[in-house]
């Protein structure tokens, strides 16, 4: 028996020889670094790892990761990646795109990849703007966003990515922030560990066209009080000294913020996070700054049979049927001989 010695890899081993061409200070650099760290920590096999992307700033990601990579066309990465998994379910496939790519032109493919539960790790870099086309408002831009295409401010309501993903039937929904260099690789590792479609929304700062749009909760000093880092089985507390927590308001069926030690509230009153509770995940996904802390980490994780696994099973069962060769098949059914 051959003893295979596992190869230890470092983050550097996942960097390519290509110059990274994002704007200096772009949040994408941080996400790339977090991914290279996560791949190293996972000791991922570069030969077996594929990054598939659409079009946009985020979609350049595959060029900078030393694995297999396919930079496809605008919005279609989930569909291309589905084909990759159908051809070879053993590959580790990551899908990368921005909010325009995934929610606007590619919205249809995203929801169907999620509801089919194809075993893909889908990363959506949300910067609430179109970067590569020079700053138009995007489907996640807040009402009033001024941009070259909305000089007086946008008037249409934005999409909420995590709510959409849950509504589409995603079995894994998580969130993080580009600058959270400890949190983000852990979220990537969780997405990787999940079999089926994993959806990760990453709040990413576009330094040129939408700088600081998430500062109300993603700025370094705002994070403790304006986000909540979820942990399965743990009370949902937040704040610098974790003295605030979430409870369910039975009258409104919504989450409320309470302060431990005030009005008789104790830690035992705080809701416990349950990743498999979709109702809770839906409430968490809807929390918006500044009224509520933005939920980060794994909002929802409840695995089910992945599409590509179901197809593989079906294929294996079929292979046990007779008439495997076309020669046999063509001679089945109604035939006749001319002499």
């Amino acid at each position: 028996m051959n003893v295979v010695t596992p190869i230890e890899r470092s983050a550097k081993d996942f960097a390519t020889d290509q110059d990274v061409r994002w704007c200096p200070g772009c949040g994408d650099y941080a996400i790339l670094k977090a991914m290279q760290n996560a791949l190293a920590a996972l000791n991922a096999d570069p030969a077996n790892t594929v990054f598939v992307s659409g079009i946009g700033c985020a979609a350049r990601f595959p060029y900078y990761v030393a694995t297999y990579g396919f930079h496809t066309i605008h919005g279609r990465a989930p569909a291309v990646a589905t084909g990759v998994k159908l051809a070879n379910p053993d590959l580790d496939v990551w899908v990368v795109g921005g909010d325009g790519d995934m929610l606007s032109i590619g919205g249809n493919h995203l929801i169907h990849a999620l509801r089919r539960n194809v075993d893909l790790n889908i990363l959506m870099f949300n910067n609430e703007i179109y970067g590569l086309t020079k700053g138009q408002y995007s489907p996640t831009s807040r009402v009033g966003t001024k941009s070259p295409s909305t000089p007086k401010g946008s008037v249409d309501a934005p999409l909420h990515a995590a709510s959409l993903a849950l509504g589409a039937g995603a079995r894994f929904v998580a969130r993080s922030i580009d600058r959270m260099q400890k949190h983000l690789p852990d979220v990537f590792k969780r997405a990787h560990a999940h079999t089926g479609a994993s959806f990760v929304e990453i709040f990413q700062n576009c330094i040129v066209y939408n700088d600081g749009v998430f500062d109300d909760f993603a700025e370094k000093n705002a994070i403790p009080d304006h986000t909540i880092a979820l942990e399965h089985g743990q009370p949902m507390t937040f704040g610098a000294d974790r003295h605030k927590g979430l409870v369910l308001n039975m009258k409104t069926l919504a989450l409320d913020i309470v302060t431990i030690g005030q009005n008789g509230v104790t830690e035992s009153d705080i809701l416990i996070h349950d990743e498999a509770n979709k109702t809770l995940a839906t409430l968490l996904a809807q929390m918006e700054s500044p009224a509520m802390p933005v939920a980060l980490g794994v909002l929802y994780c409840d695995p089910a049979l992945a599409y590509d696994d179901a197809i593989s099973k079906d294929r294996i069962n079929s292979e046990m049927q007779p008439h495997g060769t076309m020669n046999d098949l063509l001679r089945c059914g109604h035939t006749w001989t001319v002499e």
Binding site: H71, T72, L86, H112, R315, M320, L330, W336, T337
Partner: protein, 624 residues
């Protein structure tokens, strides 16, 4: 089930009118089961040893309101003791299940032809719906024809009375009554249909019993009833057909089986991504049943996802295939450009239909040739090949896969609604006689980059994820010729554009030289066709050759690139005639590429050419 083709014993043989071939058209409401009736008659006719060709002609609506002219669904079959090329110019026997079918189809019936009517469906209301002011049975409208007017509805209900089924279920058996009747008229054996009904309704024995009772009753009625106008049935001898094992095949079946066979010849799985669209969907249906033969099917959320999944599968080492009809191909266009740019194998099957836009979804046309050859942004060449008949789809599918994997390119296969749905007897090929498809996937990291090219074919290396040492990144951005990295260098773009162009043009080196199907390599007139016009052109040219005209039939499988010797071949003729079911697309291409002053014969009526139409054009251009 295999049987030997023989005529059933027929006591009426001597009295029957002997014909070399006959055209029968079944017509009724879209809910009357005319397609099924035609299909069963086709099977019995194939078993009787005739050559045949069929033409299912049905509306886009699934169940249009009963009795309306736009709800008429028809199935035409031409069969004979000779080689059959088309579904027939004119109908010898029309079966009309209601007044609407009669009014829609009567002009296709030859003068003196037989029309069989279900008088049970003729009443004041149905006549009015069909637009008849007077009862056609009395108005003299049918005087030029031999009329068999029977209350098929009542006779069917009488026949199924003991089956214990509902009135509605009973009425649905009248197509089997009509089939039994027509089967006697042409001395077709009922056995294959009885076996089929028993199998189809094996969980509903009373329905099977009722249908079989109706079938037999129709047959017995024809045998015993006094027929008007001295009709005593027809006899058609067995055709002289090459010996071997046969089955009937539609274009969709042959295409699906060809793709699956190609996968087995290449020892590589087929991944078929598709989205339902008329008339392409049957290909998805047949392939969905071929998992055990190495085919994975994926019904995508839209046309774009279907082609993208096929491209993803090719990228990961399967043979990606997608299919649609013109409007769906339009949606796939950007992704096809990606496959051209990343030089991945891809087969795109276009079952053409009449357009533009939704057009006539169930009617045939050949008007997507420009779309296939030219219809993309930028200089985006790919290979285009066309199938000429249902059986030919098998070979064309294999050829498409062979080209796609040999040259690392998308290949567009043009078929059409007529070929997809039409059936013909098919000599079952032996896979062992077909050349294997050799796929050389790259495994050696030495000197590798993703766009390193084979010096012969100019195909790039197929380096599949999962292969250690070949990790690389590709995409739709222009690649460096010498390293595969992103390149915005102007000279490099010229070089890559030229390389893509030269690669596709080089495919023509693999073709056998183009030869005429019939006639000499020079003469007065070359009739150049492509696709499903093969049938009517070949019969028309054969007829004109018999009459001594210096005409040849040249039929193109390879639309892009064209065969290298086509220029020389056409220069041997005084004139070139191009019959097409479009406004002149191949004609324009031949003019552009070969500077040949081709003449068009064009028709876009959603119906195949009649032999007579092409024959008239040939004579006009031979004699001028």
């Amino acid at each position: 089930m295999s049987s030997t083709a023989t005529q059933p014993r027929d006591p009426n043989q001597d009295l029957r009118e002997s014909l070399e071939s006959a055209v029968v058209r079944f017509a009724g409401d879209s809910g009357d089961g005319m397609q099924l009736t035609g299909g069963r008659f086709t099977q019995a006719t194939a078993l009787a040893g005739n050559d045949l060709s069929t033409f299912p002609d049905f509306p886009a609506e699934i169940r249009a309101p009963v009795g309306t002219t736009y709800g008429v669904s028809s199935f035409q079959i031409n069969f004979g003791a000779r080689v059959i090329r088309t579904a027939g110019d004119a109908v010898d026997m029309l079966v009309a299940m209601n007044p609407a079918a009669l009014t829609v189809e009567l002009d296709k019936l030859k003068r003196g032809g037989v029309v069989a009517l279900d008088t049970g469906a003729f009443n004041e209301r149905s006549l009015r719906k069909a637009g008849f002011d007077d009862d056609p049975l009395e108005s003299g409208l049918l005087d030029p024809y031999r009329v068999i007017a029977i209350d098929m509805t009542k006779l069917t209900m009488d026949a199924v009375a003991d089956s214990g089924i509902s009135k509605k279920e009973g009425q649905r058996c009248k197509n089997m009554w009509a089939l039994g009747f027509v089967s006697w008229m042409f001395a077709r054996d009922l056995r294959p249909t009885i076996d089929w009904l028993s199998g189809k309704f094996k969980d509903k024995p009373s329905i099977a019993e009722a249908n079989i009772a109706a079938l037999k009753a129709g047959h017995a009625f024809a045998e015993t009833a006094e027929m008007p106008d001295g009709i005593s049935g027809f006899s058609i001898g067995a055709a002289s057909i090459a010996p071997g094992l046969y089955r009937t095949v539609t274009g969709s079946e042959a295409m699906a089986w060809g793709l699956a066979t190609a996968g087995q010849l290449a020892k590589t799985p087929i991944m078929f991504g598709s989205y339902p669209i008329t008339p392409a969907s049957p290909l998805l249906h047949v392939l969905a049943g071929l998992k055990a033969q190495g085919v994975t099917t994926f019904q995508a959320e839209d046309e774009i996802a279907a082609v993208c999944a096929a491209i993803g599968a090719s990228y990961a080492g399967s043979i990606g295939v997608t299919s649609s009809s013109g409007p769906g191909i339009a949606l796939k266009t950007e992704a096809i450009g990606l496959a051209i740019s990343t030089e991945l194998p891809l087969v795109i099957v276009n079952s053409q239909r009449a357009g533009p836009s939704t057009g006539l979804p169930t009617k045939t046309e050949q008007s997507d040739l420009y779309q296939a050859v030219y219809g993309r942004n930028a200089d985006s060449p790919l290979c285009v090949i066309a199938s000429r008949s249902p059986g030919d789809c098998f070979e064309v599918a294999i050829e498409a896969v062979r080209i796609a994997v040999t040259y690392m390119t998308p290949v567009m296969v043009l078929t059409d609604g007529y070929i997809a749905n039409a059936a013909e007897p098919w000599l079952i090929p032996d896979m062992n006689d077909i050349e294997p498809i050799i796929i050389k996937k790259r495994t050696d990291p030495k000197g590798f980059h993703p766009f390193v090219r084979d010096p012969g074919t100019l195909a790039r290396a197929w380096a599949v994820p999962g292969t250690p040492g070949l990790e690389h990144r590709i995409g739709g951005i222009e690649k460096g010729y010498s390293n595969g990295h992103i390149s915005y260098d102007p000279a490099n773009h010229q070089k890559m554009t030229d390389a893509r162009h030269d690669k596709i043009n080089g495919i023509a080196k693999s073709y056998a030289p183009q030869k005429p199907e019939a006639g000499l390599e020079n003469g007065t007139l070359a009739v150049v066709g492509w696709g499903s016009t093969y049938g009517p052109i070949s019969r028309a040219v054969a007829n004109c050759l018999d009459e001594g005209h210096a005409v040849s039939h040249i039929h193109l499988r390879y639309i892009w690139p064209l065969a290298k010797n086509l220029d020389d071949l056409l220069s041997g003729f005084d004139r070139v005639l191009v019959p097409e079911m479009n406004t002149g697309q191949l004609r324009t291409l031949l003019r552009a590429e070969l500077l040949v002053d081709a003449i068009g014969l064009n028709k876009v009526e959603g119906q195949p050419f009649k032999i007579a139409e092409i024959e008239a054009a040939i004579k006009k251009h031979c004699e001028r």
